[in-house]
């Protein structure tokens, strides 16, 4: 079953991989802000990944993987031609898009890529798009050139100041609002929950500029069946997989999401990663291949 073949794999910065896979059904229906659920092999977890790009004609989809836990480490060891066991999508509601006026997009970690289709679409809708991308240092910044084609302004920010501004997305936003007195009509952020919660806190304090965040949660089925991805939103329980993943950031209970819901499996995740030995995997692959050669 060569259903979900990797056509292309690229490591553009350390530990960040871009994978192109042929899934025509998803490529045809995907909309900016949606995600897929991926299983590497029969034994894997199902993990959600935001779509980076898709090509309806070629029937391909692309997504970015940040090597972090067990499943993403497995992906890092996959090669072109290897197959995923299962890919389901497109899932979730598309991002809220309109002609807002001036839009600031913030992307950190995996979100640097995930913001891209949204920027593209917002630009098409006639917005003035300002994209801020954040990384720890210059070696981890990616997609800068691509963003230039879909943004009116691209601002780079690194924690150590090795490239662009020094600091974080919320520092840049703070500066734009307080010092530069820029008119911002809409903000969207994708990245780690901590970064997004800080942006949310900031914009809530500064007059409540509409801010939307694409939350990162733990999921199982992605169809609203299990409730693993639930979060408290405006006093109600919402499921990120079907009600989101994009939400009005000001209404999210960030404290609960970051410190309660998403840390449920810290021990298991760490253990899982420790049990995963790249050497074993590479060796298994080597043995498999030599066996194939022998038989042929």
């Amino acid at each position: 079953m060569s259903k979900f073949n990797i056509l292309k794999k690229e490591e553009f910065v350390p530990n960040f991989y871009k994978l192109d896979i042929k899934v025509p059904g998803i490529a045809k229906k995907a909309k900016a802000g949606q995600f897929i659920l991926v299983m590497v092999d029969e034994h894997s977890e199902k993990i959600p990944l935001t779509l980076l790009d898709w090509d309806e004609e070629k029937g391909t989809i692309s997504f970015i993987v940040q090597e972090l836990g067990l499943s993403t480490s497995k992906m890092a060891f996959m090669e072109e031609g290897d197959c995923f066991y299962s890919i389901v999508g497109p899932l979730g509601e598309p991002a809220y898009l309109d002609n807002f006026g001036t839009v600031v997009l913030g992307g950190g970690c995996y979100g640097v890529g995930a913001v891209y289709p949204i920027a593209k679409k917002l630009k098409e809708l006639g917005n003035i798009v300002i994209t801020i991308i954040e990384a720890k240092n210059e070696n981890l910044l990616y997609y800068e050139e691509e963003y230039k084609t879909v943004s009116d302004e691209v601002i780079l920010v690194t924690t150590d100041g090795s490239k662009g501004e020094r600091g974080h997305i919320y520092d840049i936003l703070d500066n734009m609002i307080e010092v530069q007195k820029r008119e911002i009509d809409h903000i969207k952020v994708i990245g780690c929950n901590v970064m997004m919660s800080k942006v949310s806190k900031l914009t809530k304090e500064k007059g409540g500029i509409p801010t939307y965040a694409t939350v990162t949660t733990i999921m199982v089925d992605g169809t609203g069946m299990c409730g693993s991805c639930r979060l408290s939103y405006d006093g109600k329980t919402k499921f990120a997989c079907v009600d989101g993943p994009e939400f009005d950031a000001h209404k999210i209970d960030w404290e609960e999401l970051i410190h309660v819901r998403n840390t449920s499996y810290i021990t298991e995740e760490t253990l899982g990663l420790q049990n995963f030995s790249p050497e074993c995997r590479s060796l298994a692959k080597f043995l498999e291949r030599t066996k194939e050669e022998e038989t042929s």
């Binding site: 059904g25 199902k46 389901v88």
Partner: protein, 577 residues
């Protein structure tokens, strides 16, 4: 054997793993009958003239017939007999609530134990599977119509099985990477081995059903697109309930609180019980609290025991008699050491500073006046609370309708709870779209979903081929080649006389004549006669002694090797004596 002798045979219990042993493993609890046990149990069946058991079965399995075959030791034939009406016998034998269906109506149950119909069904289905003597799927001539089935749970599989036998091209879309729906994600291995489900799906595949996994209809394809782009002639929606109900009490989002759906999906479908070989983690607890009194609650509680819990409490709002779970499951859970806190309901979940749960506070209830459903209503007792220390809570209080499909198909009528509205045959408000199972009824049983799937298959066939009485050209037999010359139903006697004349100009091979009751969309065959060769002009007379006087309508169907030639409803009132 005389009835008196049959009455003296005691009920044959199915041997099971001892409770202390099985509570620590995921292997199936009962071992199943041996051949001798099956025959002995089958011999308890009195083969009633008016078998009540069949009325209790939502798909009307010919129960006395298959049991008679078991009595003769014809196990394979018995399995095939069941399969005429039920495509998933190995599943139903294990998970049907027989005590409130077939076995509940068995006459032997009035005095002592009813016949172990479920056990026997399970035995013959397993016999067929384990001996590998599966008949070649019948080659059916394609009728040129395509049907899409959304969801591969029990109702979808039944619809698929029925339609493929009628010559449809059938494709089943499944959101998960494995087929079976609730049979794989919901029901644990120790109650329904996944190999059994896999086997049933394989059989359907062999018969020609196509399965498309990893496809969430409503997202990757809308219902309308299935018609316009993929060219389906009908769509059946059998997606299940699939939206967990939470209690809306403080602390429900703390770490260690699962919906039963999540807990069971992680354990069953993602095989978290084999962690870390399978990577999906599952929080385990030493003191587990399961909220709810249905089968799902029992499954969750027993899974928790097998994952090394020391104490498992089931907290249920009503009394033991009112628990909706199968009797056998409650019994098994109790044997394995699950403790019941009845007439109690959680009001708050307390956690530590890290967001991990620590305890659950429950309020005691008492039974009050009966409510609309006739069950005594549980009423909270003011100020009567108790606290259970816990590190894992599983909420199993039911499911609402998952809105994924209805949300993306605005012209599909739903009721105020979000369930799809259908007529009794499963027709929705949208032409050529049918629905059945939990998405229509709300959470119910496997077998009732299968009944709905069967009715929808009938409706699909009726709607796509509206005039079944007419001889389809493709069968190669000219129209009107058979004529029903005389039919007489005597109101006060129990005989049906039919004279049938063959006015075809050529011989017909292997003609099957069947007379059946048409009863709530199900057929019960009363007589089936095979005529090996039927020459032009030849008349056949049928006597049909097993007639129920109360029935007003009979269906007469005549097939030959190539398919249906004629079917006609005979109405008692129309026939003069």
């Amino acid at each position: 054997m005389k009835s008196k002798e049959r009455m003296q045979i005691p009920f044959t219990d199915m041997p099971t793993q001892p409770p202390q042993v099985r509570a620590r493993n995921f292997r199936e609890v009962p071992y199943g009958y041996s051949e001798e046990m099956a025959i002995q149990e089958a011999n308890r069946c009195l083969n009633c003239k008016k078998p009540k058991c069949v009325d209790g079965c939502p798909v009307r399995v010919p129960i006395p017939e298959f049991i008679a075959l078991v009595q003769e030791g014809k196990f394979l034939e018995a399995a095939w007999k069941i399969k005429e009406r039920n495509v998933l016998p190995a599943v139903c034998g294990r998970v049907c609530p027989q005590e409130s269906q077939c076995e509940g109506l068995c006459v032997r149950g009035k005095k002592g134990r009813s016949v172990g119909i479920g056990n026997l069904e399970r035995f013959v289905a397993d016999y067929e599977r384990l001996t590998g003597q599966v008949p070649e799927p019948e080659r059916v001539r394609k009728n040129g119509k395509k049907v899409a089935i959304v969801g591969s749970g029990p109702s979808g599989l039944t619809t698929a099985g029925d339609l493929i036998q009628q010559g449809y091209e059938v494709t089943v879309y499944e959101a998960f990477h494995l087929g079976g729906g609730v049979l794989v994600y919901g029901i644990p291995e120790f109650r329904l081995p996944k190999s059994v489900v896999q086997y049933e799906i394989q059989n359907l595949e062999n018969a020609g059903v196509k399965f498309v996994y990893d496809s969430v209809i409503g997202r990757i394809r809308g219902i309308d697109e299935l018609f316009t782009e993929d060219g389906y002639d009908a769509v059946y929606i059998g997606v299940g309930a699939g939206l967990p109900v939470f209690m809306n009490i403080p602390g429900e989002n703390l770490q260690g609180v699962y919906s039963a759906n999540e807990y069971l999906t992680r354990s069953n479908l993602m095989k978290a019980y084999l962690y870390p070989k399978y990577n999906t983690p599952l929080l385990t607890g030493k003191n587990v609290v399961v909220v709810g009194g249905g089968n799902v609650a029992m499954d969750s509680a027993r899974t928790a025991l097998r994952l090394d819990a020391d104490n498992v409490h089931i907290v249920y709002r009503r009394s033991r008699e009112q628990m909706p779970a199968r009797l056998e499951e409650i019994h098994h859970a109790e044997e394995e050491g699950v403790q019941f806190k009845l007439l109690s309901n959680p009001v708050e979940i307390m956690g530590d500073e890290k967001g991990r749960i620590e305890s659950i506070r429950c309020q005691r209830y008492q039974l009050g006046e009966p409510d609309k459903s006739g069950r005594a209503r549980p009423v909270p007792i003011d100020g009567d609370y108790f606290v259970l220390n816990t590190d894992l809570i599983i909420i199993a209080i039911g499911n609402k309708a998952n809105p994924l499909i209805t949300m993306t198909t605005p012209d599909l009528e739903v009721n105020k709870w979000g369930n799809i509205v259908t007529d009794e045959m499963g027709r929705t408000s949208k032409p050529h779209v049918y629905a059945g199972g939990d998405i229509v009824t709300g959470a119910a049983t496997v077998i009732s979903a299968m009944g709905a799937g069967r009715r929808a298959a009938t409706a699909i066939h009726e709607d796509l081929f509206p005039q079944v009485e007419e001889t389809p050209e493709s069968f190669g037999v000219p129209k009107g080649s058979l004529e029903l010359k005389h039919a007489a139903i005597y109101p006060n006697t129990v005989y049906l006389k039919l004279n049938i004349i063959n006015i075809s100009d050529k011989d017909l091979d292997q003609v099957k004549i069947r007379v059946s009751h048409v009863h709530e969309f199900f057929e019960t065959t009363m007589l089936e006669k095979t005529v090996p060769r039927w020459s032009p002009g030849e008349e056949h007379e049928l006597d049909c002694p097993r007639i129920d006087k109360n029935e007003k309508e009979y269906l007469l169907t005549i097939n030959d090797l190539h398919g249906k030639i004629m079917s006609k409803i005979i109405v008692a009132n129309d026939v003069k004596k």
